[in-house]
Symmetry: C2
């Protein structure tokens, strides 16, 4: 992981080896405090650690002190074009402001906002976005280069003001462009990076685009906080963000289920088995891994690598726990017995025994069964 | 992009700079020819370019010649444990066989299969899987290292037999493990690589895991053919595969829509606007980009970068085409007018004018509107 400078957004550490922070943004009218707080509540329940709210008008700025007071997580005010809104937001006690020094009204306005941020010891997010590049950079051939230049101009501006408590974003709708931009800026500076693919789209396509773009960067240790942008309920953004981080082993949140693809070798209907197990896993907050397998080829091996697993068969299946075959059970009770094992293990404190070598007999047994079939 | 050796799977080029090939696997019983062909039909309609079928039994091998004859795309036979099934599959005319030289019955059996493959001039897929590593590698601390070693043992075996027409996979349920394994093997050999995350899970989580893992590798030019494994209908695998490739600009398939996240700045209900546009785009096969934006901050810029775009407002919105504001229209007819423009453009041959600098007036206009609001 790239070592970045650590900043604090209302007590939540970003960068410097801290866990990658998940954030999102409300889409209520910020001045509607009840609606905004209700949405923040849903976001926090989904695991969101920092919430950004848009502050386009004075009435939104006026609502901030109440929102900051009521929100269980730090609030970041998102401000464009208008420095006085930024000053009001800082005054209202937000944990950070997201501004674009290039559109806030000139160097004097930036200096005013920085002075206010310093006085309250709060952080900033700066950075560029492929959709709102400054005029003089819009014609550059290389979009990634334009993003990096725009962000670096802002960095220079803040450093001149002796201000360093900020994170940077260089977001684009183009995944290859944002990957290149973040890689380049990560080489240039050690400020923490806020990752995102802008305008990524509807839940399905947008989630995949974000997974590709954020995943490619996070896999290389680039990125200190992430926001998945979806045209959807914001709690969906948080869910996708955690799945990306879980896939890379960067964060844990709830159980992880692996299941094999349905294929011609499938002999227990893995799909319905997996759906049932996934449904029942939703009520668990603990982080553990369950494998749902349907056949003799990869089943026993994969199931053996998870905390728990089942490998199905027509009439009987196997239950695995911590790398060992636990027992052979009738298919009808396979899922119930699996969850009994999980519950007992959680009650006993979720101890993970040192991994044992997988019992050879199970693999061989099922391979032999496949041969005979 | 890493330059790999090119192989042909039934006329579909893999590696050597060919476009990344999308493949999937049926989950019908292969011996049920009608069901298998029906599923292949759905896969091909979704864009699948190579289909793998499981061949666990003699009756499945016996069905292959009919399937090969009826399938519009090359068929790969997936065989484990049993060399005689591989020989039968090759005899039936499959375009490639996927075998694991480590479990097919010893060096003599491998030599028999290679001899048959050479005689028919067909390709092979070899490689390892975290769930079915050979016995002597199962205890290695580093799972990625075990995968690479297992695959390299197979490579050595085939090279000794003077056989080089193969692609390699080193799949794992662990995304970081498969990323490391593929990166390592990509450094070691120039055979084309078949990417996949095994047992990646139910459609939502599995698609995200695959996007992260495959995306991280493809972004670096690693990977010549991909399969997304989901516990779902296989055509969903193909859809996700294309979204990953489209996100990275590696393949085109149908229109791409970008839309901004719902946020407090949203003043036209982007979510429903985006859903309507997405629905109407489903009927298009042409590759073009449409932006659906809701506000003055990133809206005009992003919409201006797409082939077409709309940026909404409460009563009126803007239509963009090829980097220019086309006109201001009433919100009620925004979508219809957008699709009229798209249809006219397609009928006229989809010409893309050289990008013009975006009309400054639109950005400024909307920024001013935001200021006034």
């Amino acid at each position: 992981m790239k070592e970045t400078r650590r900043i604090s957004v209302g007590g939540v550490d970003i960068g410097g080896g801290a866990p990658v922070v998940v954030q999102s943004m409300t889409f209520t009218s910020t001045h509607d405090v009840d609606a905004t707080i209700a949405q923040i509540g849903k976001l926090v329940e989904a695991g969101c650690e920092i919430v950004r709210v848009a502050v386009p008008k004075n009435e939104d700025a006026a609502a901030l002190s109440k929102i900051v007071y009521l929100s269980p997580v730090p609030i970041v005010a998102d401000i464009h074009f208008n420095a006085s809104l930024a000053l009001k937001a800082i005054d209202a006690g937000v944990a950070a402001v997201r501004i674009n020094p290039g559109n806030i009204g000139g160097p004097d306005k930036v200096a005013q906002v920085v002075k206010a941020a310093k006085a309250k010891n709060i952080a900033m997010r700066i950075g560029a976005n492929s959709g709102s590049l400054p005029e003089h950079l819009r014609d550059l051939e290389d979009g990634a280069d334009a993003l990096v230049r725009a962000a670096m101009e802002e960095v220079v501006l803040l450093e001149k003001l002796d201000f360093y408590d900020f994170k940077i974003s260089v977001k684009s709708t183009s995944v290859p462009e944002m990957i290149r931009a973040y890689r380049t800026i990560s080489d240039k500076v050690d400020y923490p990076l806020h990752l995102g693919v802008t305008e990524s789209g509807t839940p399905f396509v947008g989630a995949l685009k974000s997974s590709v773009g954020l995943g490619a960067l996070l896999a290389d240790g680039i990125g200190d906080t992430i926001r998945v942008s979806l045209t959807a309920e914001p709690e969906k953004e948080v869910e996708v963000a955690f799945e990306i981080l879980k896939a890379l082993g960067l964060r844990e949140r709830g159980p992880v289920m692996i299941s094999c693809p349905s294929c011609g070798r499938d002999n227990v209907g893995v799909q319905s088995l997996a759906e049932t197990v996934e449904d029942r896993l939703r009520s668990y907050e603990e982080a553990f891994e369950v494998a749902v397998m349907g056949c003799a080829v990869n089943g026993p091996g994969e199931a053996g690598n998870a905390d728990f697993g089942i490998a199905g068969g027509r009439d009987t299946g196997f239950i695995y726990a911590h790398g060992r075959v636990l027992r052979k059970v009738e298919s009808a009770t396979l899922i119930d017995e699996l969850f009994n094992e999980i519950d007992t293990w959680i009650e006993a404190g979720m101890k993970r025994p040192k991994r044992l070598k997988m019992a050879k007999s199970a693999t061989e047994l099922m391979a032999e069964a496949a041969q005979r079939a």
